[in-house]
């Protein structure tokens, strides 16, 4: 409970006790005294630093009159002051609380808070004090942002110039297949562009990678594909993890120049990160990302394996992305790969695991691959519906397959029933989502189970009613729209704060309580309560005393 509320409650209690006239002045002084001492101590405690600062100073800082602090001193170390002084102190402090706490808190709300004296609600959030600096615009960050944007633009410009150059070359030969050959020949234009990019890379590699992966470059836009005569289908199987030849040749000259060891690491990692962001893997972007990663990994595999170049065979073009061995940080790549699960993950993971040196032990590799395939092919949201026929045989590994299985079972149940499809229903967990770590967003698709739940509910309620026949517990027969009323509020209940006051009640004491004979005290005053089953005296004298002492009178 907030300190201020606690202190206010204590002081108000004293005042009420005072006005009821039941306590003599000495007891009143003690009550007021404790409330005031606690108030001063607790309010100033927050402001205490490592070494204790005099209370007077603290009080001055928060605008509490000094004589209140003196009153506290008297109460704790000196003679008990007079009742009038205590009363005055109490009034002043209540006024302070009202001004400093209550008006300011309630000024933020339109309606009153409901006080909860008995219910102990734990602190909802941490006691973070608002930092005023947070609201100012952070100028240094702003500047850095600007710089980043400009740099990004620069890189894009250079990449655009590369594209234009390649297209120009294509124009000259008017045939896509011939341009493939032409592109791989080194030209001074391309060299110049390469030099520019290398220069930019010196400044900031990450941004260059970012730019490369933005739409229009390594990930083509649709018109780009058209110009290159590449047919695009949404089916991910069609390209078999390869980049279409034309597109590959388009970009290869640039990439070969750029793909040093460190840049490769950065680029592949960025690709995985981008892949993670993509939600639907049958779209263009994730497809290209996957295929580029695959191409690059295959290229690395080839060059790392150190296959001798076949000089005699001229057919083998120098269209390799990698000319030198590329030792990468494989564990990091594995992590990145696993963090971006999609249908292609097993394949990509396989590639990485094969290439990496030093290799993981065989069993780990096997397990990782198995885990990845279970995770991605077991009916995850990214898999195509064509795989659903497998789900029925596979054991349940993911939430989606569980839901799918339940749906199948229910559909079987409802053969012949017309189930109305309800509209998107806002599903709401009772806060469980917040605390569970790996909970994915509940898919709010049209849920035929919703209608089922409702009808099932009606049946359940009828069953419960039958089971409660003849007992005091019942289910209401009225039709109440319970979901319109929050917990604690009932239909017809007013906002009257006195609404729950009782005007009559009865007290009941218990006759039968656990026997404390384990403690074996022959001392008869603390005797056990034995309720004799047969007739005769119902209570012994001791029992009676115990009952009387147990009663609490208000």
């Amino acid at each position: 409970m907030p300190l201020a509320v606690d202190c206010t409650a204590e002081l108000i209690r004293c005042k009420v006790l005072d006005s009821s006239g039941r306590l003599k002045s000495h007891e009143l002084i003690l009550s007021y005294g404790l409330a005031l001492v606690r108030f001063v101590n607790l309010i100033t405690e927050r402001k205490q630093k490592m070494v204790s600062i005099p209370l007077r100073q603290l009080a001055r800082e928060v605008d509490i009159p000094i004589w209140v602090v003196d009153l506290r001193h008297e109460l704790t170390h000196g003679k008990l002051p007079r009742l009038a002084l205590c009363r005055k102190g109490c009034d002043v402090v209540l006024e302070w609380l009202r001004k400093t706490y209550w008006s300011r808190q309630l000024g933020n709300n339109l309606c009153e808070e409901s006080e909860d004296e008995e219910e102990e609600q734990e602190g909802v959030e941490a006691n973070a004090e608002l930092d005023n600096d947070a609201w100012e615009i952070r100028t240094p960050q702003h500047e850095a942002c600007q710089k980043h944007k400009e740099f990004h633009e620069k890189v894009r410009d250079v990449l655009i110039s590369y594209k234009n150059e390649q297209f120009r070359v294509m124009q000259t030969v008017q045939s896509v297949s011939k341009s493939r050959e032409l592109w791989s020949d080194s030209s001074s234009e391309v060299d110049w562009i390469l030099a520019q990019i290398k220069d930019l890379m010196q400044e900031n590699r990450e941004t260059v990678a970012e730019a490369l992966l933005s739409d229009g470059f390594l990930i083509p836009k649709m018109d780009c594909l058209k110009m290159l005569n590449i047919k695009y289908e949404a089916n991910k199987e069609v390209w078999q993890f390869k980049i279409p030849q034309t597109f590959y040749c388009f970009w290869q000259p640039l990439l070969t120049g750029l793909l040093s060891r460190s840049f490769t690491q950065i680029l592949i990692e960025k690709m995985f990160m981008e892949l993670k962001e993509c939600s639907d893997s049958s779209e263009l972007r994730p497809q290209f990302l996957i295929n580029w990663i695959s191409e690059m990994l295959t290229g690395i595999a080839k060059v790392n394996a150190g296959k001798k170049r076949q000089h005699c065979n001229k057919q083998v073009s120098t269209k390799e992305l990698f000319l030198h061995k590329v030792p990468l940080q494989w564990i990091r790549l594995t992590d990145n790969c696993l963090e971006a699960p999609c249908w292609a993950t097993p394949h990509l993971l396989q590639l990485i695991l094969t290439i990496m040196r030093p290799r993981l032990p065989r069993s780990s590799r096997k397990n990782l691959l198995y885990l990845a395939s279970v995770y991605t092919e077991g009916g995850g949201p990214l898999s195509s519906p064509g795989l659903s026929s497998d789900c029925s045989e596979q054991p349940i590994y993911t939430i989606e397959s569980l839901q799918w299985r339940a749906r199948q079972e229910n559909q079987v149940k409802n053969q012949g029933q017309t189930v109305e499809k309800q509209e998107d229903v806002l599903e709401r967990d009772d806060g469980v989502e917040e605390v569970e770590e790996e909970e994915e967003e509940m898919v709010t698709e049209t849920n035929p189970l919703e209608g089922l739940a409702h009808s099932g509910n009606v049946v359940a309620i009828a069953e419960k009613r039958a089971a409660l026949q003849g007992s005091a517990w019942q289910i209401t027969a009225d039709e109440v729209r319970w979901k319109d009323f929050p917990l604690g509020k009932l239909p017809g209940q007013t906002d009257d704060p006195d609404g729950l006051m009782l005007d009559n009640y009865s007290m009941m004491s218990l006759l039968d309580q656990p026997v404390r004979d384990e403690w074996k005290s022959p001392n008869t005053n603390s005797a056990e309560l034995n309720v004799p089953v047969t007739g005769g005296l119902l209570w012994t004298q001791n029992d009676f005393h115990k009952i009387k002492s147990g009663l609490q009178l208000f």
Binding site: S52, N127, G456, A472, K483, P486, M508
Partner: protein, 425 residues
């Protein structure tokens, strides 16, 4: 989402002493001839008691059809919402934190608080009551609280005397620094909170006056020398002894319990406040606030939207008026389940209660106990589809205003060099 590699120390680390203890216990439990072992596990907080218990039970379930588990740690309960002492029959392995396997115990008493400091006497009564329902047919694993300092240690000694375990597993991180080894001799001689050891009895015989009715007993011993085997386990996982967010785990146990209110089909998750509650008239159930004093006229404010234990007292409810019936003392009685008081209807004199307790058991409930276990905040804050103000929820709370924070116990500051910390100058 995805697979993330974790460092090796995130897995279950079983130290050698733990393995030895487990081996011995399994052997004893499977041996048919020596009667049924009762294993009591104790130690300071966060030393891995719960993990040890779960592991032990899982290993035992490989060989035995069932094991019984008695929960005496009211702050970190395994199968029930917090605040309960319970006895459960375990037949399925325990594979996760408590909120994933809430089940109904064989016997349960709602103590009402997560710490028993305020009323240790009632706590012991409750423990005794629950233990009395243990039939010595299957091995029993007893979990105790992590409170082993000062009064807690004395209480633990009382519990040991009360439950007479055949084996005690003591876990400690720093080699006996937190608590002395609980050898049978030590327990025999040391006084507990309510029971006395052997030595104290001797003192009485020498004629020294006793204080308090419990402890004065002319020349009698409270317990014969206990006989059990002490097994010492030294946990070696990182962050042993470091506090964990037990409050969050408790909230999740409550949420796990409330999950039973949802339908068993995998359908939409229905908001709590939209479910149809049960209703019961005022004069059919007795009401009692366990942890604090509430003026009777105001008791409905305490009860409304609160977490209550649904209990059964053997007495019949007697009332003179049609108003609520309030008990004068907290009973030690069976708790059949829990619920949230959805609302209190003053005209019709009804309590509306949301609870997953099945109707056959619900009809036996004639007592509502209110403790200081609270409904998790997210239940209130997450209510949607409601117009107007939600009771007990506020918005726009300003934490920077002085006095807005919670009462916090601060460490003692260094005093200045002067003799007085108050300034009279």
């Amino acid at each position: 989402v995805g697979i993330v590699k974790c460092s090796p120390d995130r897995g279950l680390l079983v130290s050698e002493s733990m393995l030895l203890a487990l081996e011995e216990l399994i052997q004893v439990c499977c041996a048919e001839d020596e009667g049924v072992p009762v294993v009591l596990v104790c130690g300071p907080k966060n030393t891995g008691k719960s993990t040890f218990n779960r592991y032990l039970i899982n290993l035992l379930l490989n060989r035995l059809p069932s094991v019984e588990y008695m929960e005496c740690d009211i702050g970190q309960t395994e199968f029930t919402p917090p605040g309960c002492v319970s006895l459960s029959n375990v037949t399925e392995p325990i594979l996760g934190p408590p909120f994933t396997h809430q089940q109904t115990p064989r016997k349960m008493v709602y103590y009402g608080q997560t710490s028993c400091e305020q009323d240790t006497e009632r706590y012991l009564d409750v423990v005794k009551y629950v233990f009395s329902s243990y039939k010595k047919e299957v091995p029993l694993v007893i979990n105790t609280m992590g409170w082993v300092k000062g009064e807690g240690l004395l209480l633990l000694i009382d519990i040991i005397r009360l439950l007479s375990p055949s084996h005690i597993v003591q876990m400690d991180v720093y080699d006996w620094k937190a608590m002395a080894p609980l050898t049978p001799e030590y327990v025999h001689l040391t006084p507990g909170l309510y029971t006395k050891g052997k030595q104290q009895a001797k003192c009485k015989q020498m004629g020294m006056s006793g204080v308090g009715s419990w402890k004065s007993s002319e020349g009698e011993e409270d317990a014969s020398a206990p006989e059990y085997k002490l097994l010492y386990v030294h946990p070696e996982f990182p962050r042993a002894g470091v506090a964990v967010h037990s409050g969050i785990l408790r909230d999740m146990s409550i949420l796990g319990y409330l999950g039973q209110l949802q339908s068993p089909d995998i359908g939409a998750v229905l908001p709590l406040h939209s479910l149809v509650p049960y209703q019961v008239p005022f004069n059919a159930v007795a009401l009692r606030v366990i942890h604090t004093d509430v003026a009777p006229t105001n008791i409905m404010y305490a009860v409304n939207a609160s977490w209550v234990g649904l209990c059964r007292i053997p007495d019949e409810i007697r009332c003179q008026t049609d108003g609520p019936v309030l008990l004068t003392q907290t009973p030690v009685c069976d708790c059949l389940g829990f619920g949230i008081v959805r609302g209190v209807e003053m005209e019709k004199k009804l309590y509306h209660v949301l609870t997953p307790v099945p109707p056959e058991n619900l009809r036996l409930v004639n007592c509502l106990l209110l403790g200081n276990i609270a409904v998790p905040n997210c239940v209130f804050v997450g209510q949607q589809g409601v117009e107007g103000e939600i009771p007990y929820v506020t918005s726009d709370y300003n934490y920077s205003i002085l006095g807005s924070g919670k009462l916090k116990k601060k460490k003692h500051f260094k005093r200045r060099e002067y003799a007085f910390e108050c300034d009279y100058t």
